[in-house]
């Protein structure tokens, strides 16, 4: 459904754009219907930029982003509108998606004005109530309220409901629960997971490995704009191949295991692996900057599980 094919994003910085800053480097990935792909990385990893490029909030410097086979960057006018009917984004700070001086349900009105101008009132209200029910919100509690009267969890759910009004196919969820409280975040997570059963694909952007692990079918670990490891979530978490992946895993605070214990387990795991997972499959290329455009950046170490070179430091 969504396919990123060797996508780059470079920014020009400095007074005359004299310096180039690469935020995303040669990233290829797919999101299938009903699949949750989590983009996991720390700040500066390019995960948010990828989400924004898919939403066309940022342009693509190189490569293609395709949605159902169409190059997203070529969409204009009506085609773009219909794209946004299928692809929506939700972001970290729910409050910033709402205008504090208008009632929160104005976000629904905006959808109506843009996409459902002809719908009769009764039909429309039915649609809203159905969408709110889907996100388990009580219409009486959230309609006719100002954003500050609602909790972060309620607002995020309203945004999801708003996306549901559009019969979306793909949802870009960028750190949508990091500002929510522990007791409510899991509900929003479950809600996302439930969407997949309707065939919605989710691109789940997060820095929290536990969340990615809980939700996703595919995990993509990014570092400095580059994919270092990608594969089915269970494989990546059970058998991380890249030192950066293990480093991240080792930093997550667990509830029943102390860091020291986790570190020890991972150290044993690392010891079983060679120095570079990529090397085993691309021996001559290990540690080399990829001069050859056809040279794959990632090596497949088991079906559906690829890893980048541990020695490759392209951004030095």
């Amino acid at each position: 459904m969504l396919r990123l094919n060797r996508v780059w994003k470079t920014y020009r910085v400095g007074a005359f754009g004299t310096r180039e800053l690469t935020a995303v480097r040669d990233v290829s990935l797919d999101v299938a219907p009903g699949e949750v792909v989590s983009l996991i990385g720390e700040s500066g990893s390019g995960k948010t930029t990828i989400g924004r490029m898919v939403l066309r909030l940022n342009s693509v410097s190189q490569g293609r982003i395709e949605f159902d086979g169409t190059d997203v960057s070529t969409l204009r006018g009506r085609a773009l509108k219909s794209y946004y009917r299928k692809v929506q984004g939700i972001f970290q700070d729910p409050y910033s998606s709402f205008n504090p001086i208008f009632k929160a349900d104005r976000v629904f009105d905006m959808v109506r004005r843009q996409f459902f101008a002809g719908t009769p009132n009764a039909t429309w209200h039915g649609k809203i109530e159905a969408a709110l029910a889907d996100v388990r919100l009580d219409p009486a509690q959230v309609l006719n309220k100002y954003p500050h009267q609602l909790s972060g969890g309620q607002l995020q759910r309203m945004l999801i409901a708003r996306a549901l009004l559009l019969d979306i196919k793909l949802l870009i969820a960028d750190e949508i629960i990091s500002m929510l409280d522990a007791s409510t975040r899991i509900d929003v997570m479950n809600l996302l997971a439930d969407l997949t059963s309707r065939g919605v694909g989710v691109l789940f952007v997060t820095h929290d490995l536990a969340l990615g692990n809980y939700l996703s079918t595919t995990t993509v670990i990014l570092r400095r704009g580059v994919i270092v490891e990608m594969g089915a979530t269970d494989k990546v978490f059970a058998n991380p191949q890249h030192p950066y992946s293990t480093h991240l895993l080792g930093s997550v605070p667990h509830l029943h295991k102390k860091w020291s214990q986790v570190e020890a387990e991972l150290a044993r795991h690392d010891a079983r692996l060679g120095p570079c997972g990529y090397h085993a499959h691309m021996p001559g290329r290990c540690g080399m900057p990829p001069h050859d455009p056809d040279q794959p950046m990632l090596a497949e170490i088991e079906p559906g599980h690829v890893v980048g070179c541990s020695y490759d430091q392209p951004l030095g």
Partner: protein
């Protein structure tokens, strides 16, 4: 006995009335203890942290006694508290990214701060540099401006600065929540190490993340709606919590390894009571699966085992 808090009440004055943010809190932090203070937003944990160091303009001390090393702290007297700040009781804020004056070199700012408190920077500088080495910061951060440091570096710098005068108590208010996992771990471990080296004698780590609290704290105190819910050694809290809120909180927490398809977690339904006019009785009872008639009466915070106190009729 390092810190003793007895019946502390603090309220916020708002236009609509007083918010009872901290409604009678009693606990101790022993010499050498790291106490994790855990709870969701609005539970009073940040109010408690601030009360110990500096009440902000809208906060009003109501009642209660705070003693540090047997000396009563004048927490309602901004001016008198100054004597204790930094030297006896110190603070690592959540906003470490912006806690340093952006237009002062860090070394100069530290020097000016120390000199304004009557200390001689020159004589402290060697120790400062030693501690920078310890946390893995280059010494030349002192000659840099905050903007030249990464977030993790800034956070570590703030930890070093805050503990420079070897205070008895360090209050770390969500000190790591803005950081990436790897930095979070580094800073958290720094806190432990500083305690081990007796740079600080005891620490209160305020966090919304109970798993982080578990990683570094000796004891954990869980707060709910301005009151204490449970306090116990970290292992006890995590492995055999007695308060239904603590239990629910942990069961809603996704851990690495827990997957949606395997085990669907559930949040805590409902939301905390408003603290403007808090209801009588147990404040968790509306959300509590175990609630029964007696909960209309406020449960006392009682010690049910050595070092394990709970405020729940069912736990007694």
């Amino acid at each position: 006995m390092s810190l003793q808090v007895d019946g502390l009440r603090v309220r916020y004055r708002t236009l609509r009335g007083d918010v009872h943010a901290l409604d009678g809190v009693t606990f101790e932090v022993a010499d050498g203890e790291i106490m994790g203070l855990v709870g969701e937003s609005g539970c009073g944990k940040t109010t408690l942290a601030k009360s110990l160091i500096r009440l902000d303009g809208r906060m009003q001390y109501v009642d209660g006694v705070v003693e540090l090393d047997g000396v009563k702290l004048p927490i309602d007297d901004q001016h008198a508290m100054n004597r204790f700040r930094f030297t006896q009781i110190s603070f690592v804020p959540q906003y470490a990214m912006s806690a340093l004056n952006p237009i002062r070199k860090i070394g100069k700012m530290i020097a000016e701060l120390l000199e304004s408190r009557g200390f001689d920077y020159k004589s402290i500088q060697p120790e400062l540099e030693r501690r920078l080495d310890l946390v893995g910061l280059p010494r030349d951060v002192l000659r840099r401006y905050p903007i030249e440091l990464s977030g993790g570096m800034k956070q570590r710098t703030v930890v070093v600065v805050s503990t420079l005068l070897d205070p008895s108590l360090l209050v770390a208010d969500e000190a790591t929540s803005a950081l990436d996992v790897s930095n979070q771990k580094a800073v958290a471990e720094t806190l432990v190490e500083f305690r081990d080296r007796r740079f600080v004698r005891s620490v209160i780590v305020v966090t919304h993340d109970i798993s982080l609290g578990y990683q570094i704290a000796d004891t954990i105190m869980v707060m709910y709606a301005g009151k204490q819910a449970e306090k116990a050694p970290a292992e006890v809290i995590v492995n055999s919590p007695r308060h239904p809120y603590t239990q629910a909180l942990m069961s809603s927490l996704p851990e690495v390894g827990v997957r949606y398809e395997d085990r669907r977690l559930a949040g805590i339904p409902g939301s905390p009571p408003p603290l403007l006019n808090p209801p009588s009785g147990c404040r968790f009872r509306d959300r509590c699966p175990l609630a029964f008639d007696q909960c209309a009466e406020e449960p006392p915070f009682v010690e049910i085992a050595t070092g394990h106190s709970v405020a729940c009729w069912k736990a007694a």
